[in-house]
Amino acid sequence: MSHDAQVFVKSQTEFEYSKRKRKEAMRSQITSFAIMIFLTLIAFSAVAAGFSKYYIAPIILLLAAVQVVLQLYYFMHMNEKNHGIAAFFLYTGALFAFTFILTFLTIIWWG
């Protein structure tokens, strides 16, 4: 927009507030990163342990779903405000992709 250039100086309180916010954000990033590595470890060790594949496949898919949520909400900041439209487009895209995969499975490969 077309406003005169303004110099904005943060007050001490604002500075401390934003510092605290950034600290929290960093903590949640590292926590979710650790969780993701842990989940990946579980997936790999489940395969390495040689369990039945009917047990491993659903577990890995479940872990993958959790990972996607962590990625989107903690790494790509969808848990913050004003991401409504991005989320709407993302879920619409996911719905379309789901439909396409479902039809591919049912009418090309299984049918």
Binding site: M1, S2, H3, D4, A5, I85, F89, T92, G93, F96, T99, F100, T103, F104, T106, I107, I108, G111
Partner: protein, 620 residues
């Protein structure tokens, strides 16, 4: 001193257009390049109709005919209709929402150059060993078997121009979401903006499947992969699915902006608020959504099985409901209006019966059992020309007359415009109406000739004569444009006198920063409200005059595109010429380097100072 130096001279103008990031100039570029491809595609259409004018004709050979029909379809869809619509979106949409430019002006320029070079690359195939010849759908088994480089040109050219379209679509989405003027809520956006929004969302979701399909095709043909080769474990049907997952939304990407243009025209020339505005918005979004759920109706005869066919048949028929809502809303907008039959309004009035005819045959084909009868016959050709020419091309011609004064501050001749309309409209129905019956009589599409005395001779001749009428209409249009540009009579703002939306409120010629002050939007049909209240300026302002931040022009988009253009030649001759891989690497290096320059070198743009805006010249 003014911060904006105005250059003159031919070389300076060319350089200005090569580097421009201004949405109004990019709109002109889109219009000019799209118009050129429209003429090329039209010439190809004329060749087709000459060949089919009489039985056992040998005007062109069978192989050349296949190349002509393929290039006609591909050119008209990807290089003519879509770019011209992009031109109007670029010209009008930012003005309608009260924005100074699109969200990413640099990307806007990049999108245009990618489209243009993709189109040039595709058309170079004519001079470099033969054009693609597997139809615009390029079904995989046929396209893999096609000798020569035609299909390679198709895949690489569309990949480049598709990237441009994708960039353009994302740009429009971000612009509409983020850059609306204060008070311009979603439910106050003009229909042209709404349809741009939904069409851009369709581009966002529809182009990735095409990109994947084209990459598979490129890898199969040029790099030894086997995605579509069933003897090597591939599956040829996957191309058809990927193509139509893209291809069906693609026709809505074309028709929705056409609906937007006609919605503007009906309200403007009936001098009435658009009837059922909110249901129009709802129908637009619903058509966009359903457009993704119906692609397999192009593949009923592939053998998907009765369940799949039934599901896709019902989903397809459902689209008739929101489309019908739109038709009735337009009729009720005209009803009781104070109608002015100008050239754009003529096109709009002609559009309703033409498009309804195309829609009705569409519902006929949605019935899967009947489609087995109609598939690959001239009935299909008639149907999609009724929706694309009767819908999209009529909208493009209407918008050309409607928005010409907005884009160039000149008025196209109404008299010649009416001649164009009548020639084109009569020619269109003459060409394509009769093709329904040719289809029902058993004439298959894509045949290069036919035997005499099957009852097809007369109808094909009539169809070809109709095509001549359309060509005459277009020639009159070109004459009209030349005369108008030569006369160059400025018309000022609101040339149609009943402008309702914000773009008509801006002084002419539109300043390069669009709005000296960002307007305040107080309802649907912003300009109309201000006029009703006697506001001579046509706008209420949301802010005082202050410095305006503008982006710098840039030559980088052009260089980036040239890189991809060079790389495409490398990919094309991979495994055939020794220089292929180095050229591929060189081209990609040019693109990546220019991307690096763009990323590493900060470009903060410049400011137009308040003092320059305040003086008489308005910053010029």
């Amino acid at each position: 001193m003014s911060s904006i130096a105005k250059k003159k001279g031919f070389g300076a103008s060319v350089w200005d257009y090569l580097t421009t990031v201004d949405h109004k100039k990019i709109a002109i570029l889109y219009l000019a390049a799209g118009g050129l491809f429209f003429v090329i595609g039209g010439i190809e259409a004329m060749l087709i109709r000459i060949q089919l004018a009489k039985p056992d004709n040998d005007f062109v050979s069978a192989g050349l005919f296949n190349e002509i029909i393929t290039m006609h379809g591909t050119t008209m869809i990807f290089l003519a209709a879509m770019p011209i619509l992009f031109g109007f979106m670029n010209a009008v949409m930012p003005l309608q929402i009260g924005a100074r430019d699109v969200a990413f002006p640099f990307l806007n320029a990049l999108g245009f150059w990618l489209f243009l070079f993709g189109g040039i690359f595709l058309n170079l195939s004519w001079f470099m060993g033969g054009a693609p010849d597997a139809g615009w759908t390029s079904y995989a088994s046929l396209s893999l078997a096609s000798p020569g480089h035609g299909i390679d040109f198709y895949a690489l050219g569309l990949q480049i121009s598709g990237a441009g379209t994708y960039i353009g679509g994302i740009n429009f989405l971000v612009t509409i979401i983020n850059m609306r003027a204060p008070g311009m809520t979603y439910m106050r956006m003009p229909l042209m903006t709404w349809t741009t929004f939904v069409a851009s969302a369709l581009i966002l979701f529809a182009f990735p499947p095409l990109t994947i399909g084209l990459f598979f095709l490129i890898l199969d043909r040029m790099f030894g992969a086997n995605f579509f080769d069933h003897t090597m474990g591939g599956n040829t049907i996957i191309w058809e699915h990927l193509f139509w997952i893209f291809g069906h939304p693609e026709v809505y990407i074309l028709i929705l902006p056409a609906f937007g243009i006609f919605s503007e025209i009906f309200a403007l020339f009936s001098r009435k608020r658009l009837f059922g505005y909110s249901s129009m918005v709802f129908a637009t979004v619903l058509i966009g959504f359903l457009g993704f759920m119906v692609w397999a109706h192009h593949m009923f005869t592939v053998g998907l099985g009765p369940t799949a066919n039934a599901i896709f048949a019902v989903a397809t028929m459902a689209i008739a409901v929101p489309t019908g809502m739109k038709i009735f809303n337009w009729l009720l907008t005209i009803w009781g209006g104070s109608i002015k039959v100008t050239v754009p309004m003529l096109y709009a009035l002609g559009f309703i019966p033409s498009f309804v005819a195309g829609g009705v045959t569409g519902v006929m084909q949605a019935a899967a059992p009947l489609d087995y009868q109609l598939h690959d016959s001239y009935f299909i050709v008639a149907h999609f020309h009724y929706v694309i020419v009767g819908g999209v091309v009529l909208a493009i011609l209407a918008a050309l007359h409607l928005y010409w004064p907005l884009m160039f501050n000149q008025m196209l001749s109404e008299k010649l415009g009416k001649w164009t309309f009548w020639f084109f409209f009569i020619g269109f129905h003459m060409t394509f109406f009769i093709q329904h019956f040719l289809g029902l009589m058993g004439m298959p599409r894509r045949v290069f000739t036919f035997r005499a005395d099957q009852g097809w001779d007369l109808f094909n001749l009539i169809s070809s004569i109709g095509a001549v009428f359309m060509a005459i209409g277009v020639i009159i249009l070109v004459i009209n444009i030349i005369i108008t540009v030569a006369k160059n009579v400025p018309v000022g703002n609101d040339p149609w006198e009943d402008g309702r939306t914000l773009e008509w409120a801006i002084p002419q010629p539109v300043p390069f920063y669009n709005f000296k002050q960002t307007p305040l939007v107080r309802g649907l049909d912003t300009f109309w409200i201000e006029k009703q209240e006697g506001n001579k300026e046509g706008m209420t302002y949301a802010e005082p005059i202050s410095d305006i931040h503008m982006p710098n022009n840039s030559f980088i988009p052009f260089v980036m595109t040239v890189g991809l253009f060079v790389a495409a030649f490398g990919a094309l001759y991979n495994g055939e010429k020794t220089w292929a891989v180095p050229v591929l690497v060189l081209g990609l290096a040019i693109t990546l380097l220019s991307m690096a320059v763009r990323s590493l070198k900060d470009d903060h743009g410049y400011h137009i100072h308040k003092e320059d805006l305040m003086n008489e010249k308005g910053g010029k």
